[in-house]
């Protein structure tokens, strides 16, 4: 029995129990009970202010809940040293901003930080990894360019490259494609999805676009007013009923013959 429990712990990434979180007395998340398993690409969805980013920051240890426990790989989040956590998970923020004119390559190399001793230089293998990442993210030709002179799409690809250079086992995307056009969004999601499918990476993504989420995620977690209102496999929870409950809009959910994914169209409820 004890063996079975410890095995179960091994095969879950996060376990959140009765988590409450508030900013200055205002509750943001309430009664969160979640288990996230490996081998499943998660999407966190919900209206503005529903606590999506706060939930992501609880998962990456940036925030500590006032009540309840967050465990990562079977250990309490607060017992993880920051640098060790950084070897396991990387974050791609929504607006990746770099002050001062570091070159693209310098920024991507920053991803090696948690793996390097204070005065160590990157090894030849590390540098080869950086070269590879610059190529797969399609920014190799920009490596000497200052990051302050990049377009939004290029900057986000640098953010993804920097996160991959961290050699993480889990990648957290915080609306990483929200400010990008559809081409750049698809490129970044495809890149992450293919790394996930090769088994290199677990992914948890906060997303805004339901159609992109349907294409990208295996399981969806819907938040509303700080509570999890729906959770499950994309094809089971992405329904007109869920969308009406969560967003308050009427929706039609179909399976596209073109992408083979669930697709959603919306309209505001017609006043009766």
């Amino acid at each position: 029995m004890a063996k079975a429990i410890s095995d179960r712990r091994q095969d879950r990434l996060w376990a959140l129990q009765d988590v409450h979180f508030s900013y200055g007395g205002v509750p943001v998340l309430r009664d969160i009970n979640l288990e996230l398993r490996p081998g499943c690409c998660y999407g966190i969805l919900g209206p503005n202010g529903s606590g999506k980013t706060t939930l992501l920051d609880l998962l990456n240890g940036l925030l500590t809940p006032q009540n309840g426990t967050v465990e990562f790989l079977g250990h309490a989040m607060r017992s993880w040293p920051r640098k060790q956590l950084a070897r396991h998970m990387a974050l791609v923020p929504q607006d990746f901003m770099v002050r001062f004119g570091f070159t693209v390559r310098e920024v991507v190399e920053m991803g090696l930080h948690p793996h390097l001793h204070r005065f160590a230089s990157p090894s030849p293998e590390d540098l080869a990894l950086i070269d590879e990442i610059l190529t797969v993210t399609g920014i190799a030709h920009l490596e000497k360019r200052s990051v302050t002179r990049l377009s939004g799409g290029e900057k986000q690809r640098v953010a993804v490259a920097r996160a991959l250079a961290q050699k993480p086992s889990v990648l957290l995307l915080d609306e990483a494609t929200s400010n990008l056009d559809i081409h750049h969004s698809l490129e970044i999601l495809h890149l992450t999805r293919s790394r996930f499918e090769q088994g290199h990476l677990q992914v948890v993504a906060v997303m805004h676009d339901l159609n992109l989420a349907a294409f990208f995620c295996d399981e969806l977690i819907f938040l509303k007013e700080g509570r999890v209102v729906r959770q499950g496999k994309t094809e089971q929870v992405l329904t007109a009923e869920t969308i009406a409950t969560v967003y308050g809009v009427e929706a039609e959910v179909t399976t596209s013959t073109f992408t083979k994914c669930r697709q959603v169209s919306f309209r505001l409820p017609v006043a009766s």
């Binding site: 940036l62 920051r82 901003m97 770099v98 310098e106």
Partner: protein, 346 residues
């Protein structure tokens, strides 16, 4: 990885500073040939005897009069340069330095307090009490600034700078009040406000040298973390940088350097602002290069300015006034350019 070109500049600048120190020692009311200066310095550093034919007055002038002041200029300039580089990297603001945080003003207030206490009959040995009071003033200011900015849990740069400006304004008024109280001794307080290296002694050098070494070592140790801070707090934390701890350690270290510099030279503005800014344009923003380069360049710049006012200009202009006159317009240009190109262009 710092570029090879950048790395090559470090020994070059170190050599330039050494040469600058020797050259500056030849200049002044009494001209002393460079060969004599080198011989005098070597004789005092090594057991090598002094060669025949050197005027004993020249020996006294170099070792007792000029050297302490020249070394003080190099060390103070270097410490201000490193502090500026670190403050700019922590606050993500190329316009930040010891002044933006009010730390220099706080240190000057502490130093002025020693003089006012004297008037009220509490005489403390100035060689010890001035640096201690200056540090207390600097740390006190930092504590108040951090307290004011702490409502924002992550110590964001805007709130820190705003808090610094507010506290500096109050302290300037407080120094004005001390000036009013000091009455006859007002000249000494004005010295703290305008800055001068003319009173530097060997005692100062023995205090400044370990502080400078300690400060530059700490800053260099955290240089890679400082680079990562440029990506913002949230990204830096997820890369394993303990942002709050990093800020606290570096702010206290730079406060110590600033306070010691102010206790020897008074307030000298703009060195900490201009030096890292210029260097960033030349070698890029990597702090592993900027920290050592800022030390040598800051030292060179202040040594140049001090030699100018000591030996070249007909009257000795207070060095703080000189650097402000040279640095002020430079500051205006950066400020205007920053507005034109958009904020992220540094």
């Amino acid at each position: 990885m710092p570029t090879a070109r950048g790395k090559a500049v470090i020994p070059l600048l170190a050599a330039a500073l050494t040469a600058g120190i020797a050259l500056s020692a030849t200049m002044g009311f009494l001209h002393i040939p460079i060969t004599d200066v080198v011989a005098i310095i070597l004789a005092s550093l090594t057991p090598k005897p002094l060669p025949e034919g050197i005027d004993p007055i020249a020996v006294t002038v170099v070792t007792d009069v000029r050297m302490p002041r020249i070394l003080a200029a190099a060390l103070v300039g270097g410490m201000l340069g490193v502090s500026g580089a670190v403050f700019q990297a922590i606050l993500l603001n190329p316009l930040a330095d010891s002044y933006t945080l009010g730390i220099s003003t706080g240190a000057a207030f502490g130093a002025s307090l020693v003089i006012v206490l004297q008037i009220f009959g509490l005489t403390l040995p100035p060689a010890v009490s001035v640096p201690i009071f200056a540090f207390a003033g600097g740390v006190g200011t930092l504590a108040v600034v951090l307290y004011l900015a702490a409502g924002d849990r992550s110590l964001s740069s805007t709130s820190l700078i705003l808090a610094g400006v507010i506290v500096a304004a109050i302290l300037s008024a407080a120094i004005g009040f001390l000036k009013f109280l000091a009455d006859e001794q007002v000249g000494i307080i004005i010295f703290w406000l305008m800055g001068s290296l003319s009173g530097s002694s060997w005692q100062n050098i023995f205090l400044l040298t370990p502080t400078a070494l300690f400060g530059i070592l700490v800053a260099f140790c955290y240089a890679r973390d400082l680079n990562i801070m440029a990506t913002g707090d949230r990204a830096a934390t997820t890369l394993g940088v303990q942002t709050v701890r990093l800020r606290t350690i570096l702010l206290v270290t730079c406060t110590l350097m600033t306070a010691l510099a102010v206790s020897v030279s008074g307030i000298i503005g703009f060195v900490g602002l201009i030096v890292p800014h210029m260097l960033r344009h030349l070698v890029g923003p990597d702090n592993r290069l900027l920290v050592p380069l800022s030390f040598f360049t800051g030292g060179l710049l202040l040594l140049f300015a001090d030699t100018l006012t000591r030996a070249v200009l007909p009257v000795e202009v207070p060095i703080g006034v000189l650097t402000a006159l040279l640095g002020g317009p430079f500051f205006c240009i950066i400020f205007k350019k920053r507005q034109q190109h958009g904020k992220s262009d540094f």
